[in-house]
């Protein structure tokens, strides 16, 4: 038994090392079809573990229909729904294609994707561009305004961003995120600092390549009015950092946490692409005026990838206000969440520190053994979608990763290690 423990500890040290030594750089914005092999006509990538149409929640269905119209596979939403229910559309998780997507996480062939390259390991990860707040596709919005915005992103914003990034020679995300943490972002619910820092770095390059000032003004105003613009970039960074950590034999480190609105799924280094799933839980949080918990959809999105790399709920101490979403959480208590997460992680990330916690490195590398042993599930900071499609975000809060995922994963891991 002790021998196995040593093997696991060594493998985990290696896996954590991979996670910590990654160098994520935002390098480009490209068309999905050009970079993702196998992303063909009528294939829709979605958030979370695999799911069939008949198990999908409202917002997920709404987004599927919307994106099918956007891709012109259907001429209207009714037709799109028919296609989906007939089995004419193919669904697969983003994670299986090097992608991640917030909330419903729709990724299809003609969408532009931001590209984050892990320059230490040479791999790339992709995520769509954040559409802003309100009625948006990631929350299941699918009306004309949503589709028009997506078209504008595709036709005007994406090419501009791509050119600007290429001109800049990429933007290093590790130091940018480090700075954001010192400015009150935790990169899941708070991205206002990083969104601003990014725009500051990009602005001269955007100005240099913009075909006309009006294009530039629209792009600036879109990014500046969206505090969560950086979320999708942080997510792609998370995916780029975790992908090289798959398949390390003997490692019990979590490489992905993700939800499709119905199931929560995790993946573990040593068990590779296998998902361990359990029914997803309801987030606890605060609601926008006019909405309450009875409107809320269960937890959803690939965005928990940021918790997988030590941000979001794990970096709560950097973003004290976010603690206010939970119960009577006082801002001064935010650090307690981070410290609790240190109980289930393999180490600290000394590149990403929290000033108010005496420069504690964010707790990083979730160990399924420690989660089960301590009976502490990862804390995930999240937006809350309306359960009906097309309405959008109705609140924000904190969700728990279901313990059953980790128990299942631990059993499979034990079996793999020959422990009965």
């Amino acid at each position: 038994m002790e021998e196995i423990g040593k093997v696991i500890d060594q493998a985990n040290e290696q896996a954590l090392g991979v996670l910590l030594s990654g160098e994520p750089v935002l390098v480009d914005v490209v068309l999905a079809a050009d970079v993702i092999d196998g992303l063909k006509e009528k294939i829709i990538l979605h958030a979370g573990p695999p799911i069939k149409w008949n198990k999908m929640c409202g917002p997920m269905r709404g987004a599927i229909c919307g994106i099918a119209v956007f891709e012109e596979w259907a001429s209207n939403l009714n037709e799109a729904e028919k296609l989906a229910s007939q089995g004419s559309l193919e669904f697969a998780p983003n994670h299986q294609f090097g992608c991640v997507g917030p909330m419903t996480g729709m990724t299809t062939s003609s969408q532009p994707l931001i590209v984050v390259e892990n320059q230490h390991y040479g791999n790339r990860a992709y995520c769509t561009i954040n559409e802003g707040l309100g009625k948006v596709m990631r929350f299941g919005g699918n009306d004309q305004t949503v589709l028009e915005r997506l078209s504008w992103i595709k036709n005007e914003l994406a090419p501009l961003l791509g050119q600007a990034l290429r001109r800049a020679g990429g933007i290093k995300l590790k130091p940018l995120i480090a700075r954001g943490l010192t400015m009150g972002d935790e990169m899941h619910q708070r991205n206002v600092a990083c969104s601003s820092l990014l725009l500051r770095e990009l602005a001269p390059h955007m100005a240099a390549v913009a075909p006309e000032t009006e294009t530039l003004a629209r792009a600036y105003s879109f990014i500046a009015s969206n505090d969560q613009f950086f979320l999708n970039i942080a997510m792609a960074a998370g995916k780029a950092l975790t992908d090289p950590a798959y398949g390390i034999k003997g490692s019990s480190m979590v490489t992905a946490m993700s939800r499709n609105g119905t199931d929560f799924g995790i993946r573990v280094s040593s068990t590779g692409d296998r998902w361990f799933t359990a029914p997803v839980e309801m987030p606890q949080g605060l609601y926008f005026p006019g909405y309450s918990e009875s409107d809320a959809n269960p937890d959803m999105g690939d965005s928990a990838i940021v918790e997988t790399i030590g941000l979001g709920g794990f970096a709560m101490g950097a973003a004290p206000a976010v603690a206010g979403f939970v119960g009577a959480g006082a801002a001064s208590q935010a650090g307690l969440y981070t410290k609790n997460m240190a109980e289930i992680t393999l180490g600290e990330n000394k590149s990403w520190t929290i000033p108010a916690m005496d420069y504690l490195g964010v707790p990083t590398g979730i160990d399924i053994r420690r989660v089960v042993e301590a009976n502490i599930s990862p804390t995930i900071n999240t937006g809350i979608a309306h359960k009906e499609p097309g309405i959008g975000q109705v609140g924000a809060g904190v969700a728990k990763a279901p313990m059953a995922c980790f128990q299942k994963a631990l059993r499979a891991f034990a079996e793999q290690m020959g422990v009965k």
Partner: protein, 490 residues
């Protein structure tokens, strides 16, 4: 009809989560249909409009303004909500009031916080205690297991593992220890000194350490080993380790060992370990026959005697009465401390009484054997503590049998213990005497195990008992002897 009110605070900013919390406080209060405070960004104004909350001033608010919006049954309610918010927004911060201190949730977390720790105390439900103890041992920590309900083979296994790592496991079911003056579990404030104690019994350690303190002697360490350590199955592993530890401890001159009688095999292991030791010993195996001891050791038959021998006090021979049949009434002992109950039985037996008990020492009988027997009840035994705290924490378990005894014409004396100190009830004497008001009762004999440095204070507990008419003895053994004299014909 509802009334919509928008009030705008110009050139203001507040954190959006803080504003959401303020909104949340109001939602659902009587008369309020909908309410929200938001910064006046276009996106937020859209949300307010969708919720039918945007009107009047709010419409012209900008991103540098805070909109206070409420729709209520009438204007008064709306005004009240806005006034409440305004005072909340202007309220002086309470500062870092009641900042919660983070407590580790796992042994690993605790160890990382304090990596120079040398001991872990484990108090979790019994079936999980050994797994936690093992984690502590792998971090080179000595372990005190407070938990009970641990399987005996697991106890042996964890003690063997500790031994192989040069560590000690105290317990399971170790309620009392004093290590370098630090009280762990139920323990009393006794001075530091030169006498070490190894005890398989919590109240035994408490009584002896307190009696020594009254005589001006202090304790180097009191090491609990758990009630089953000296059984055949466990083999005395922790007792032997504890003797070794005290042997190496320069502060310790003399060692007292307190336990129920050990198995024969274990007993001889311990006696030969004593024989090889450079220190002197007092061996108190309560209820054990006479032992063959090496010249550096003396045997004590009671806790009181153990303390006297260790303190090198003159021992007055006690005249034991052969076959005492003179008593017309019986003694009933109601004990919180198991070892104190055992000591009382031994003293009664020494005086020629036949005794029954729910926890009989050698020579005593189980309850229900014959009529009019002297009876000593251990209220800390499993049958009394299932699903409730130990009587040392919550002595009210004694109340019902105590009241019954007061009413029982066959009872000539009631014998009780009051155990105070760290972990014990805040006022056990007070609780006992509260039962006595306006009650005819047989004479009550009681002693207080504790010191004046304990939070409850021994003297003040004794005064309470005396004021209620109890006879308060200087030790448990003395209380038992006084009870005996009281029921014998003059």
């Amino acid at each position: 009809m509802t009334f919509l009110l928008n009030v705008v605070q110009h050139n203001s900013y507040a954190d959006s989560v803080a504003l959401m919390r303020l909104s949340d406080k109001i939602s659902g209060s009587p008369g309020v249909k909908e309410a929200a405070i938001m910064i006046g960004t276009p996106a937020n104004k859209e949300i307010l409009a969708t919720a039918n909350l945007l009107g009047g001033d709010g419409q012209s608010a900008g991103p540098g303004d805070i909109i206070l919006a409420v729709r209520a049954v009438d204007q008064n309610t709306a005004n009240r909500v806005i006034a409440g918010w305004e005072s909340e927004l202007n309220k002086k911060a309470e500062g870092l009031s009641a900042t919660e201190i983070w407590r580790p949730k796992t042994i690993r977390g605790a160890f990382e916080q304090q990596s120079d720790a040398s001991m872990a105390i484990i108090s979790v439900p019994g079936p999980f205690a050994i797994a936690e103890a093992r984690k502590a041992l792998t971090r080179n920590l000595n372990v005190l297991i407070f938990s009970d309900n641990v399987a005996i083979d697991e106890e042996r296994a964890i003690k063997e593992e500790a031994k192989s790592r040069d560590l000690i496991v105290m317990g399971p079911d170790c309620g009392t220890a004093i290590i370098q003056g630090k009280m762990l579990g139920f323990a009393n404030s006794v001075p530091n000194g030169k006498i070490g104690i190894v005890g398989a019994s919590g109240t035994g350690i408490q009584e002896v350490s307190c009696l020594l303190a009254h005589m001006g002697h202090g304790i180097s360490h009191a090491i609990g080993v758990g009630g089953r350590d000296l059984t055949e199955q466990v083999g005395g592993i922790s007792t032997l380790t504890a003797i070794d530890l005290l042997e190496k401890d320069p502060q310790t001159d003399h060692v007292i060992i307190i336990s129920k009688p050990p198995s024969e095999k274990v007993c001889s292991k311990i006696l030969s370990k004593i024989e090889r030791s450079s220190k002197t010993f007092t061996v108190c195996f309560l209820g054990s026959p006479l032992l063959q001891l090496s010249s550096n050791a003396r045997q004590a038959t009671t806790l009181e005697l153990a303390a006297l021998l260790a303190a090198n006090q003159e021992i007055k021979p006690i005249n034991s009465v052969s076959k005492n049949t003179g008593a017309a009434k019986r003694i009933l002992g109601l004990y919180a401390g198991g070892t104190l109950a055992a000591e009382a039985q031994i003293i009664l037996i020494d005086h020629g009484f036949s005794v029954t008990s729910n926890a009989p020492v050698p020579g005593a009988l189980p309850i229900g054997s014959g009529n009019l027997q002297h009876t000593i009840i251990d209220l800390g035994a499993d049958e009394y503590t299932q699903g409730r705290p130990h009587p040392m924490i919550e002595p009210s378990v004694r109340s019902a049998p105590f009241l019954k005894a007061c009413d029982d014409p066959t009872v000539g004396a009631i014998l009780c213990d009051i155990v105070i100190g760290n972990g014990a009830h805040a006022n056990p004497a007070g609780l006992l005497i509260s039962l006595l008001s306006d009650l005819d009762h047989p004479p009550i004999f009681v002693s207080v195990t504790g010191t004046n440095q304990d939070p409850q204070g021994r003297d003040s507990q004794m005064k309470l008992l005396e004021s209620a008419g109890c006879t308060v003895a200087s030790s448990n053994a003395e209380a038992a002897r006084m009870a005996i004299s009281s029921i014998l014909p003059a």
